[in-house]
C-alpha cells in the first residue's frame, strides 16, 4: 500500500485514541475534584490532568491558572492546542478523507458523523456540567464505534495492522503518561493504607484508563498501589496495560513482516520492549524506580514510533 495511506491510517487511529483518552482524563478529574478537599488533598488535579495530557507547557503560555474552566476548554475545544479533542477529531477527519479508499464505510461514517456533530452541536463548547458530560460521552462513544468498526469490518491486511499499531502505540503512551504523573501516589513507602486521600487518587487513575472494575476482577482486593501499578504495567489481560499494548504491537509488526516477507528495526525494537516487560516484576521495577522505568518506557515507545515511520511511512 502507499506509504502515505499507511501513515494516514496510523495517525487516524492515534488521533481517535488520543481524543478518547483526553475525554477519560477530564471525566476522571471531574470526579476527583467534586470531592471535598479533605479527600483529595491540596494537589491541583487540573494541573496534573494537563501533565498527563502532555500539554502543560503550552497551556501556561495561554492561561494563568489551571482550573476546571480553563483546562476543560483547553483540552476539549481550544483551537490553539494541537491535541485538543476538537483538533484530534478534525485531524482524524482530514486523515480519513485522505484515505477514504482504505477505510470501510462504517469507519468513515463514524469519523464523518463525529465531525458533523462536532460542528453542529459542539462548535461553541459546553456551558454546563451536563453538557460536558454529554460531550465526553460522545467522544468516548465515537472512539468505541471507530474501534468496533475497524475490528468488525476491515480486511486483515496491512491497512488493518497499521491502524492497530496507531491505537496501541498511542494507548501505551497514554497509560505511561498517567503513571508518570501519578507514580508518586503509587509508591509503597508513601502508602497510608485505607486513607481516603489515596483511595480516591488511585480509583481516579484506574478510571482514566477504564480499569476500575477490571482491577477488582483481577485482584479481588481493595485498592493497593503496587497492584494498580502491576495492572497498568505488567498485566497483559488489561487492554490498556503496557504489556498488552506491546503484545499487540509485536503481533501487528510480525504480521506485516510476514506479509511483506521481511522484518526490520521496527520489529526488533518492539520485541525488545516487549521482552523487557515480560521479564520484569513489580518488585524489580520498584527497586529500579518506577519513575525511571516509566520515563524509559515513554522514550522507548516514542522511539518505536520514529522507527515505524522511517521503515514504512515515508
Amino acid at each position: 500500500m502507499l506509504s502515505r495511506t499507511a501513515e494516514n491510517l496510523y495517525w487516524l487511529a492515534r488521533y481517535v485514541e488520543r481524543a478518547e483518552y483526553l475525554a477519560r482524563t477530564i471525566d476522571a478529574t471531574l470526579r476527583v475534584t467534586a470531592l471535598p478537599a479533605a479527600y483529595i488533598g491540596k494537589t491541583n488535579e487540573w494541573d496534573s490532568a494537563l501533565l498527563t495530557a502532555g500539554v502543560a507547557a503550552s497551556f501556561y503560555q495561554a492561561y494563568e491558572e489551571a482550573n476546571e474552566h480553563n483546562v476543560v476548554e483547553y483540552l476539549s475545544f481550544a483551537q490553539n492546542n494541537p491535541s485538543s479533542i476538537r483538533n484530534c477529531i478534525e485531524a482524524a477527519r482530514l486523515n480519513s478523507r485522505s484515505v477514504r479508499t482504505a477505510l470501510t464505510s462504517e469507519m468513515w461514517d463514524t469519523i464523518n458523523s463525529a465531525w458533523i456533530e462536532l460542528q453542529a452541536v459542539w462548535s461553541k463548547g459546553t456551558s454546563t456540567r451536563e453538557d460536558l458530560a454529554k460531550f465526553l460521552r460522545f467522544v468516548q462513544e465515537t472512539s468505541l464505534r471507530f474501534d468496533g468498526s475497524a475490528y468488525r469490518t476491515m480486511l486483515r491486511n496491512d491497512a488493518y495492522w497499521f491502524s492497530r499499531m496507531g491505537v496501541h502505540l498511542e494507548r501505551a503512551d497514554n497509560t505511561a503518561r498517567i503513571l508518570d504523573v501519578k507514580y508518586h501516589v503509587l509508591l509503597p513507602e508513601e502508602e497510608h493504607v485505607g486513607g481516603p486521600l489515596d483511595f480516591y487518587q488511585w480509583s481516579s487513575i484506574l478510571r482514566s484508563v477504564s480499569a476500575l472494575t477490571a482491577y477488582h476482577w483481577v485482584y479481588r482486593e481493595t485498592l493497593k498501589p503496587w497492584l494498580i501499578a502491576d495492572l497498568l504495567i505488567l498485566n497483559d489481560t488489561l487492554p490498556r496495560s503496557l504489556a498488552s499494548c506491546y503484545g499487540n504491537l509485536v503481533r501487528n509488526l510480525d504480521q506485516i513482516g510476514v506479509a511483506y516477507g521481511r522484518q526490520g528495526p521496527a520489529q526488533r525494537h518492539a520485541r525488545g520492549i516487549r521482552n523487557r516487560l515480560e521479564h520484569s516484576n513489580m518488585n524489580d521495577i520498584f527497586q529500579h524506580g518506577v519513575h525511571e522505568f516509566i520515563q524509559e518506557f515513554i522514550a522507548d515507545n516514542s522511539r518505536l514510533g520514529e522507527i515505524i515511520t522511517k521503515q514504512y511511512l515515508i
Partner: protein
C-alpha cells in the same frame, strides 16, 4: 427567447411517453412523502461525504450539491441518436489532437486558423511528435449537451481535459434506488453501475508497451483540498486503484514509481485529475507542488500513459469549439450528428460588430473560462454589467465568443412551491480505450434550481438529477 422545450409535457396537455409512468406515480405520491425523501437524500449525501468545495468561499469549505429527487427521463430511441453523435464527436476530437501534434493537415487545409492553435496557451509544444498509445488522447470526455426541441441535441461544450461529475451520476442512482424502489419497479431503467469497470478496462488498454500483463493504474489527485476530491477518492475506490498525490510518486530512470510500505512500485497508467500546468514542475509551472518532477520525461520516453493525454485542452477550447462541425467533417467525412450552438467568434471583426450590437440578447463567454465564471448572460444582466463587458470585449475581442441565449429544455423539479419546470443540461461520459468507445447510458443531469435561471453549474447554485434512459 423561444419557449423552452418541456421534456415531460407536450403543449396541449399530453405527456411525452417516457414520462407517463412517472407522472402517474407523482399523482399517487403525496407531496409530504416527496419532501421527506428529499430530506433523507440530503442526509445520505452528507453522511457519505459527497461534498465539493467552492473556491473563494470562506463560509463553508465543503458543500453539498443540491440533489433533486425527480429523475430526468429519456427514451431508448433518443439515447441511440445521442450515443451515436457522442461517439462521432469524440472520435473526431482524438483525430484532431493526433493531427495537431503531428502532421497538421487540418491547418494546411485552412479549416482551423493556425494562430488559434499556436498562440493558444493550452497548446503544448512538448507534445509535438509525441506518440501516445493507440493514438488515444481523450480517454475520458464529458460532453455537455442541451436540448432545445424534440429532435435536436446540441453540444454546449466539450470537456477533454479532466471532466468531473461522474461520481454524482453513480451516487445519484444509488440513492434513488434506495429511496424509490417502487418507482424503479415501474420502469426499466438502463443501469449505470458498470462505469468503473469500463473505465478501468479503457485505462488498462492504453498501457505503454513495456508494462506488465496486468498494468498498474493509479489516480493522481491534487489532494483533499481540491473541489473534486470526493470524486477522486470515490473513483479510485470503485476502480480498486491507488489514489496518489504528487508526493507519492517518484521518477527514476524515466520510469514512474509510487512509494509504498514495501518500497517503490512501478506505475504504468496515470488517470490524472491534475491539470497540465501542475503535472511536472520541471516542464510546466515550477511552483507546482502537486506534480511529479520528471513525469514528462518518463512520458516522452513512453514509459507512462497519462489519461487524458497532455495538451488535450486545445480540443475543448471555446475558440476551437465553433470549428467542431468542420473538424468532424474533415476527419470523418460525415455530417455531424450533434449540432453546435451557433457561435460568433469575436476575433472576427464582422462577428464582433454583431455581438456588440446585440449584447443584451447574447451569452458571452471567455474563451478560456470554465465553471460558468466570467460569462455574461445578456438577457439577465443589468445595463451596467453589459457596458462593463462591452469594454472588455473591445479591449480583447479574441478572448471571447458569443452565442444566442438558448432556451434549455426543462424538467419537473422539486421547488419550495411544489413541482415546477427547471432548465437542465446533460453531461454524458465517453470512454475511449484501445479498441472501443463506450458510453454508460445517461450521464449527469444538471439543473438550474432558480426559477428562470439557465446556469446549471454547481458552483453557481445548480443541482443534479438522476438521469434515466428507459430500455425499450
Amino acid at each position: 427567447m423561444a419557449v423552452a422545450f418541456d421534456e415531460m409535457n407536450i403543449p396541449g396537455g399530453d405527456l411525452r411517453p417516457a414520462y407517463q409512468e412517472l407522472a402517474r406515480w407523482l399523482k399517487e405520491t403525496p407531496p409530504e412523502a416527496l419532501e421527506y425523501r428529499r430530506q433523507e437524500a440530503e442526509l445520505l449525501f452528507r453522511r457519505i461525504g459527497i461534498t465539493f468545495a467552492v473556491y473563494g468561499d470562506s463560509e463553508s469549505t465543503e458543500r453539498l450539491i443540491p440533489f433533486d429527487v425527480i429523475p430526468r427521463i429519456m427514451s431508448a430511441k433518443e439515447w441511440a441518436v445521442l450515443e451515436k453523435g457522442l461517439k462521432q464527436r469524440v472520435r473526431a476530437l482524438n483525430m484532431f489532437l493526433r493531427d495537431i501534434y503531428h502532421g497538421r493537415d487540418i491547418l494546411r487545409a485552412d479549416i482551423v486558423p493556425a494562430d488559434l492553435i499556436f498562440q493558444n496557451p493550452v497548446f503544448r509544444p512538448e507534445m509535438n511528435g509525441q506518440e501516445v498509445p493507440h493514438d488515444v488522447y481523450v480517454h475520458i470526455a464529458g460532453i455537455d449537451i442541451v436540448r432545445v426541441d424534440a429532435e435536436d441535441f446540441i453540444v454546449l461544450e466539450d470537456n477533454a481535459r479532466t471532466p468531473s461529475g461522474v461520481s454524482y451520476m453513480l451516487e445519484n442512482r444509488e440513492i434513488m434506488m434506495r429511496l424509490f424502489p417502487d418507482l424503479f419497479a415501474r420502469h426499466r431503467v438502463a443501469p449505470v453501475e458498470r462505469y468503473p469497470d469500463e473505465l478501468l478496462s479503457a485505462l488498462r488498454s492504453v498501457a505503454p508497451q513495456g508494462a506488465s500483463g496486468e498494468p498498474t493504474v493509479a489516480l493522481l489527485t491534487p489532494g483533499v483540498y481540491n473541489s473534486a476530491y470526493y470524486e477522486h477518492s470515490f473513483l479510485a475506490d470503485k476502480l480498486g486503484i491507488e489514489l496518489v498525490e504528487g508526493r507519492d510518486l517518484v521518477v527514476k530512470n524515466n520510469e514512474v514509481f509510487m512509494r509504498t510500505t514495501e518500497g517503490l512500485k512501478r506505475v504504468d497508467v496515470i488517470y490524472r485529475r491534475v491539470d497540465d500546468d501542475f503535472l511536472d514542475p520541471l516542464t510546466f509551472r515550477p511552483d507546482s507542488v502537486l506534480g511529479v518532477p520528471g513525469l514528462m520525461s518518463a512520458y516522452a520516453a513512453g514509459n507512462i500513459t497519462l489519461a487524458n493525454a497532455v495538451g488535450t485542452g486545445i480540443a475543448d477550447d471555446k475558440a476551437i469549439y465553433s470549428y467542431m462541425p468542420d473538424i468532424v467533417k474533415f476527419y470523418l467525412g460525415e455530417e455531424p450528428i450533434l449540432k453546435n450552438v451557433p457561435t460568433w467568434r469575436c476575433r472576427e471583426p464582422k462577428d464582433l460588430a454583431y455581438v456588440l450590437d446585440n449584447l443584451s440578447e447574447l451569452v458571452v463567454k471567455e474563451v478560456h473560462g470554465s465553471g460558468g465564471y466570467g460569462m455574461l448572460i445578456g438577457p439577465a444582466a443589468t445595463k451596467a454589467t453589459i457596458e462593463a463587458f462591452r469594454d472588455k470585449l473591445k479591449r480583447e475581442p479574441e478572448g471571447f465568443i458569443a452565442q444566442p441565449t438558448l432556451a434549455l429544455s426543462t424538467c419537473p423539479t422539486c421547488t419550495a412551491s411544489g413541482l415546477a419546470p427547471r432548465h437542465v443540461d446533460l453531461r454524458p461520459f465517453v470512454l475511449t480505450g484501445s479498441k472501443s468507445t463506450t458510453i454508460v447510458p445517461g450521464g449527469l443531469t444538471r439543473v438550474a434550481l432558480k426559477e428562470g435561471s439557465l446556469v446549471v453549474n454547481s458552483s453557481q447554485g445548480g443541482g443534479t438529477k438522476d438521469t434515466w434512459i428507459l430500455d425499450e
